[in-house]
Subunit: 190 residues, 2 copies
């Protein structure tokens, strides 16, 4: 999507040659028309397929997930919670996710009543890098015997392999903008 690529070029800040900060429109301040257009593209991408529920992770995924859920017929969305310590609540599905940007492991949980056997789930997130968050959520869906259709992310850093890993396992992937590489501190898109 041209609109996202232009926004990244104009406002993204590359850090360490593999992290790009987009706080001005995605991770702190949110550009509503941009997210709305992304959600419409996801709807076209999913045309003809039934989606029962959107799954994301707090916090940056939530606005995007809401926009997509609205476009797909006002279906429910669930956001996995990041818990600080091992949760004792046994009424949750848990998974451990390694954060690429911060190099820490965190446990995420979804309460069992909000994922049901047979539900058709679309995962939505702000970024797709190595795919660790996506696989953490897939793991949770597997525990619930829900079916993951695929993942839609606003920005994909394709050189980090997340898409490959997901597609290899049979999941569909959609990205609003696909970064091929950072060259001389400038993102190059596919």
């Amino acid at each position: 999507m041209k609109i996202i690529e232009e926004k990244i070029l104009r406002e993204g800040k590359i850090i360490n040659n593999d992290i790009i900060k987009v706080d001005s429109f995605l991770n702190h301040q949110i550009d509503v028309p941009l997210i709305h257009e992304f959600a419409q593209e996801v709807r076209e991408w999913m045309a003809g397929r039934r989606v029962d529920k959107i799954l994301t992770i707090e916090a940056s995924g939530i606005a995007i997930a809401y926009a997509v859920a609205e476009q797909l017929g006002a279906i429910p969305l669930v956001f996995a919670k990041k818990s600080k310590s091992a949760t004792v609540d046994d009424n949750v599905y848990k998974s451990t996710i390694k954060s690429f940007t911060r190099n820490v492991e965190s446990e995420v949980t979804v309460a069992k009543p909000y994922l049901k056997e047979g539900e058709r789930i679309l995962i939505v997130d702000d970024f797709l890098a190595e795919g660790n968050a996506a696989f953490g959520l897939i793991n949770i869906c597997n525990q619930a015997k829900a079916r993951v259709l695929g993942l839609a992310a606003v920005v994909e850093k394709r050189f980090q392999g997340g898409r490959e890993r997901l597609e290899k396992e049979g999941y569909d992937v959609f990205a609003g903008a696909s970064i091929k590489e950072f060259k001389d501190n400038v993102p190059i898109f596919y």
Copy 2:
């Protein structure tokens, strides 16, 4: 709003006689049509007044803030971040908020570029209880010399005084559902 009151009666779980858990439609799973209708009501409430930006706190406020921002003309939204420790970044506005439900203090931050002098801000949140989160965000807006118009919350526990405190200081308050009290473990609405 009838739809929210009914949802609370059907799905809310009262804990300790002053906390109500609404994870099934607001704080973990999100009921999109309900939030959409709330956002439309906020638009009517704000009719004729200019709002430049929506401000909320991660994580539960974000979906609601997005829906309201969309209704008010696709204006930007900003979510304050909860930081674990004292942030050294001096390019942020900070405020300390005492959480009613968890009885802990947490620091929230907004990066300075995302709140500007003179901007007309509407605060949006899931709950209004004692008003601590609202006043923390107002404090941040004051640092930025932005102007807070008021607060819109999906659920208000009016017996905890948040509305009174806010109105006394001249802020407008809108709630999707106003709980007067919990009586025999059932919420009574205004």
